[in-house]
Each structure stands twice: as C-alpha cells, then as structure tokens.
Symmetry: C5
Subunit: 84 residues, 5 copies
C-alpha cells in the first residue's frame, strides 16, 4: 500500500457500465504521483489515506469485472503514525 | 486509475486473434507517460479520460484471455473536476 | 521481491471491513521508495525484510478479496547475505 | 499497452519447463525501457509493435501457469498511426 | 520479462510458512534495479538470466498462494543474444 493525501475529485458522466457508483478521489502519494482512487469511506480533501493498487483493489467489490485498480482502504490516524 | 488525455490512435492489421475489435487510443498521462488503451466509449482526440490498468482492464471483456492491460473507463467531466 | 527496511508503522481506525487485523509497517526499499506492508512476522523498526507485491500478497490470506498489495514474507538474515 | 520497437532476440537453452516454445524478442519502449516479450507473430528487427504486460500476457496461452509477463499483441501499421 | 544478472543471494530463516524452499537470488536488471527472485535453475553469481514478475511468477508453483512475485525463468545464452 502507499500513503497518500486526498487532493481532489473527478466526475465522469459518460463511463463504462461496470464502473461502480461512488466517489473517485484524486490522491497524491508521498512520492508526488497522482492517482484516482475509489473511496468507500467518505474521505475529505486533505485527509491522509492508505491506497491499495492492482487487481486486489477490484476484489473489494462483490461484482466480478469491476474496472477499479486503486482503492482507499483506510484513513490514516495522523497523530499515531510516529516512528515506532 | 490515472487521468490522461487522448493524443492519437494506432491501427494493427496483423495482431493476435484474441485482441478485441475496437479503437486502440494513444493517451498521455499527467506524468507524461504514453500508453495505448482500449476505448469502449468513442473518445475524441484531446478528451480527458480515466484509465485503468492491469488485469482488471481485461476483465471488462466477457471473453476470458483478452490481452488488454489498459482501458478507458470514463470520460472526465472537465468543468466539474475542480478541487473539492 | 524487494529488500526493504522497516521504518515505521501506521494505524488506521477507520478502514474498509476487509482489511485484515494486524500490523501495517512502513518500509523503505533499497531504491528509496516507501511502502506500507502487512507484517505477519512481528518485525521491528530497522529490521531488514523481504517484500512481495501485487495480488500474490493478498493470496497469503485465507479469505478472498483482502485488499493487501504488499506483504513482508521474511526477515533477512543480515550476516549471511554476503555476495555468493 | 505500450508501443515498442523490436531490437533483438534472446535464446535460453536452460529454462523452466513451462516456458512456451517460441521467440523471445527484445523490445525497446518509447520511454527507452527494454523488455523481453514473447512473439507469436513472427516480428522482425525494427518492427513497431504493441506490447501487453502482466498476467493478461500469460492468459494468451491455453496452458495455465505460463511464466510470461510480456506479449507482442500486434504489429503497428506505421503509415496509419497519424494523429487522429 | 527483463534481462538481469545474478549479483547475490539472501537467506531468511524467519519467514512466512508459504515461502517455497529454494534459493532467493539478488539480481540486477539492465536498468540498474535490484530484485530478489526465486531461482528454480541453480544459477550462479554473474549469470545472465531472464526474470518474470507479478502473479505469473507465483503460478509456477503447484501450490496456490505462494508469495513469490519474481522468478528466474531461464538462463540467457550469452554468445547467441546478438542483434538479429
């Protein structure tokens, strides 16, 4: 997974029928890459999140053949992520 | 997923039999990478699109073993993708 | 797989229901990339570990559809990893 | 997929038993990366080709568990790949 | 696949139970990246090898859920890999 921060949202009115309904958030990773991830948690702009990528992101959905390759799997507790 | 913009199209007369019939568009990602993605939506040159990659791109097709690793899943509504 | 070193830990109180219970460690790869990996071994800060990525990381878990794309598969024996 | 150009060929006499019989071509992508891809089409040195990567490359083969992660899926029609 | 050269070996006494028994070699790709790959062929330090990555590397093993994402699939015949 990667740490990222929510930086925006995209809307797509014209899309393939298998794209699940829900928020598609723009996130920026620590390394500066920008991804669009499905958000099942209702995250806010600026929130620190944990992103999973690839086919395991699609396996989150009960339907087969969901074309999602990036998923927010958690909101990171900011005050507790100090070094161990 | 990644944001990208349609920048061209490729044709391949000689191809493997399992390549699905349809448009193969060249897209350029925000980071400047160029990919060839299958387009099920009829997108135009210059259009902003959402790209999914890897095995979930192939799962879009009803056939098994389709050798597609990049798919346009939506056209991005340009006026609405402001920051949240 | 990639060599990495444990550099921290993250906590996520608000997460998807399919995220397995256990430690999510921050690791830094030899190339300097930072990942968050699930740790089934109880590794410590500074420990040298072996990371596997992608869908095979999720297949470690008996449940299907676990959204984990990075797993610590071993602790590297440091004194023995000399050149052959 | 990615555009690439055939730049060489490799031979491997000592290999795992599940490696399919056929040509393994060296290709160079537009970004300058060099990959070794399985060629089911009989492409020539210098030919422009379309490469697919990851598990969908292996699904081209009727056998399960073929360890191929890059496949030439088409030869690009060079004169026709003008901008749209 | 990628060309790489064997540059070392790692040992991991403490590892997950599903890690297969066998050699884990450090290889360096042409682009300079260092990976740890499972070696079913008994390759030697300095040997030129062909590496496959991702879930197809794990499918080499008869067991399901093997957490291996990089596999040596062949030793490259060095004198024969001239340009075509």
């Amino acid at each position: 997974m990667m740490r990222a921060r929510v930086s925006g949202r995209v809307w797509s009115t014209r899309h393939v029928g298998t794209l699940p309904t829900g928020a598609l958030l723009e996130v920026e990773t620590e390394a500066g890459a920008r991804l669009i991830a499905f958000d099942p948690l209702g995250c806010a702009e600026g929130e620190a999140v944990l992103i999973t990528q690839g086919s395991v992101a699609a396996s989150y959905f009960p339907e087969t053949s969901v074309p999602i390759d990036a998923l927010i799997v958690g909101s990171i507790d900011e005050q507790s992520t100090k070094r161990q």
